[in-house]
């Protein structure tokens, strides 16, 4: 798919995610099958086709604001950086928000896990999910990855609505984590479990 997005209106999320994961490589690998990205492979695998199940996300259009409607049950893949949890095409401090809000969540529905901050695709949001964001922080800044059809001014807002719903369930935890700076996090990752547990 190179750096393009994918919309499958009645697809199976596990099937498509399986195709993406089997095709992913952190380096050039022509033996990969499934859904691959030469662009991603050429950039050291810092990007991936990030998937969500629209039955859980409720997007009306893709890209948001493009005028291109998307099925309520679509599987949507956005080509973006691993760690771009809000799918705005860049990795910034805002992407920590999802992890902050949902850390400790386990067995998350894979169809929405990306937005929960599950950056390592293990179905749980743990301190390890900060690692991908840390590693990619700053990628896309000033030049975010986005479908060129239309800018995505409404995207963050739309996704933010979903994230707000998530945060409401974990309000206290989220507030604590949102105040954490990257430097704090880098230093505190190893101790975050204890701190988080104490604050939760």
């Amino acid at each position: 798919m190179n750096d393009n997005d994918l919309v499958v209106n009645t697809g199976s999320f596990p099937t498509i995610q399986g195709l993406v994961l089997v095709g992913y490589s952190a380096g050039i690998d022509s033996t990969k099958k499934g859904i691959t990205s030469t662009t991603s492979q050429g950039s050291g695998g810092v990007t991936i086709l990030a998937l969500f199940d629209n039955a859980l996300a409720g997007m009306a259009q893709w890209p948001p604001g493009s005028g291109q409607s998307v099925s309520a049950t679509a599987i949507v893949g956005k080509y973006t950086y691993i760690g771009d949890t809000n799918m705005d095409g860049q990795v910034s401090a805002q992407d920590y928000t999802a992890v902050d809000a949902n850390i400790g969540s386990n067995n998350i529905n894979p169809g929405i896990a990306w937005f929960y901050g599950d950056t390592n695709f293990d179905g749980n949001v743990t301190a390890q999910d900060y690692t991908a964001i840390d590693a990619a922080l700053g990628l896309g800044a000033g030049n975010p990855l986005a479908a060129t059809v239309v800018p995505e001014p409404g995207m963050i807002g739309v996704l933010g609505l979903g994230m707000l719903l998530i945060r409401r369930r974990r309000e206290g935890k989220a507030h604590a984590m949102q105040r954490t700076t990257k430097k704090d996090r880098d230093c505190g990752d190893r101790g975050m479990g204890a701190g988080d547990g104490a604050g939760g």
Partner: protein, 495 residues
């Protein structure tokens, strides 16, 4: 030289030809090779050969053999090859097997027994029994699949074949010259000969003239076998009757004899083998022009369902043939290193009378910029090294299938309109999609093999990437692939 057959218009040209092979495409799926070879070129004596290569997979090709004469004496009523072609309404014909007399009828009929097997359209005409050591024949199934067969025992008179099959159109011959890729010819007598053989779906009908010193002095069956194997790659070949019986007829207008029979006139033989084929209209002007001008084509303007239009060797520079009024064809064929552009604003409708419509690009890079109307499923067969660009609009509102065949490249860059159930199938080679195939999301993209290069956003109904085929969505970020469903085989790639 014994050019005694005065009605053969080809003789004058043939007599003066020097080591010349003339290749023509008189019918859809038919290539004629007219070879005049001086001494030493093919064999140590001058020979004139006529060879027809017939695509048995072409849906417009049909076969016919001399029928049984029923309750009359003997097996068949004798007939010249030309009369046979005329009476059957066929376009091509050659003489059949050896024969013997079987009496006469009250109205001057002369009956014959065929010296070997023949089955015509499933009807038994003559059993094995030629008595030749390497007797054989070629059977054509109802779907024109060719198989070399032989009797299980050369001393028996029956219809049992080896390999075992139910004969449909079976023309027996005197000697198997090539069998399964091996030379099996044994006869070294020098004569005019008729032979038929095949490689895959390509049937070859062969005649070499003889007994005409200085013009064509014949070949041995061993020489014919070696020549047809080395020059045309035949895997199976059987000789039919030769000598004065050797005759090849073509009805590109009035049926005419292509070769120079050694009797000096066309012999009345026992059985014949005929081919039905659709006339090929070939562009003949070395220049740009208008599709509808009669004088620019052999056989008149192609403009009817099933009509076959060929753009071959006529041009020496890139040329444009414009549609100033709508035209219809079942086959369009390109074969030139210089570019043909089928332009204009009027519509070219692709409409077959049998089977599917077809656009074949045998060589070169060619463009169809005129609007295309797809009425039937259409196969776009682009041979290795060739390119076909469809830059004009495509209206497939009836939801037919567009199939990309061949190892070459096809580019779709014009506006697309596909109806419910439409498919774009890639079976081989490369398809570049430069435009949205399915703005109405009704077309399915089915990739059975080869590569598909998607260079624009797509709204598709279904995407099936099967086998080991590869779909590449070109980088750019805007080529969003949208589909109702996505199916991928284990070995497929979506890059």
């Amino acid at each position: 030289m014994k050019h005694r057959f005065a009605t053969l218009t080809c003789l004058a040209a043939a007599a003066t030809a020097q080591a010349k092979t003339t290749v023509t495409h008189p019918f859809r799926g038919v290539v004629r090779y007219e070879r005049n070879e001086p001494a030493g070129a093919v064999v140590p004596r001058p020979v004139a050969m006529n060879i027809l290569e017939i695509d048995l997979a072409d849906p417009t090709i049909g076969l016919v053999l001399t029928p049984s004469n029923g309750a009359d004496p003997g097996e068949v009523t004798r007939q010249t090859t030309r009369d046979f072609v005329t009476s059957q309404g066929a376009q091509l014909g050659i003489n059949g097997n050896l024969y013997s007399s079987a009496g006469t009828g009250p109205n001057g009929e002369i009956y014959r027994d065929v010296n070997g097997i023949e089955v015509a359209a499933g009807q038994q005409v003559s059993p094995w029994g030629g008595g030749f050591a390497r007797e054989g024949g070629i059977n054509f199934s109802a779907s024109n699949l060719a198989t070399m067969v032989q009797p299980t025992n050369t001393s028996v008179s029956n219809y049992v074949t080896s390999p075992s099959l139910s004969p449909y159109n079976l023309m027996g011959g005197r000697e198997r010259l090539i069998t399964g890729g091996a030379i099996t010819a044994i006869s070294t007598a020098l004569n005019p000969y008729t032979a038929m053989g095949y490689k895959g779906n390509s049937l070859y009908l062969f005649v070499v003239d003889g007994r005409q010193p200085g013009y064509s002095e014949g070949m041995t069956l061993v020489e014919i076998a070696n020549f047809m194997q080395s020059a045309y790659g035949l895997t199976d070949l059987v000789s039919l009757d030769g000598g004065g019986s050797t005759t090849m007829v073509m009805a590109d207008s009035t049926p005419r004899v292509l070769n120079s029979p050694s009797d000096g006139s066309e012999r009345v033989v026992a059985n014949n083998f005929g081919v039905f084929a659709a006339l090929m209209h070939e562009w003949t002007t070395n220049g740009s022009g208008t599709w509808s001008v009669t004088g620019s084509w052999t056989g008149g303007v192609p403009n009817a369902p099933g009509a076959a239009a060929r753009f071959g060797s006529a041009i020496a520079l890139p040329r444009t043939i414009s549609l100033t009024s709508s035209a219809t064809a079942g086959l369009v064929e390109f074969d030139n290193a210089n570019t043909y552009t089928i332009g204009g604003t009027s519509t070219l409708t692709l409409d077959a009378t049998v089977g599917v419509a077809s656009v074949r690009t045998l060589s070169g890079t060619h463009v169809m910029s005129a609007p295309l109307e797809i009425v039937d499923t259409t196969e776009f067969d682009v041979f290795s090294g060739a390119t076909l660009s469809l830059t004009g609009s495509i209206n497939n509102s009836t939801g037919r299938t567009i199939k990309k065949l061949g190892a070459g490249v096809m580019v779709l860059s014009g506006p697309q309109n596909h109806g419910t159930g439409a498919q774009v199938n890639v079976n081989a080679g490369t398809l570049q999609i430069m435009t949205d195939l399915g703005s109405s999301a009704l077309v399915a993209l089915k990739l059975n093999a080869g590569m598909t290069d998607i260079r624009s956003p797509q709204h598709l109904h279904d995407v099936n990437i099967l086998g080991s085929s590869i779909a590449t969505v070109q980088a750019g970020g805007g080529n969003i692939l949208r589909a109702r469903t996505l199916t991928m085989a284990a070995g497929a790639e979506l890059i």
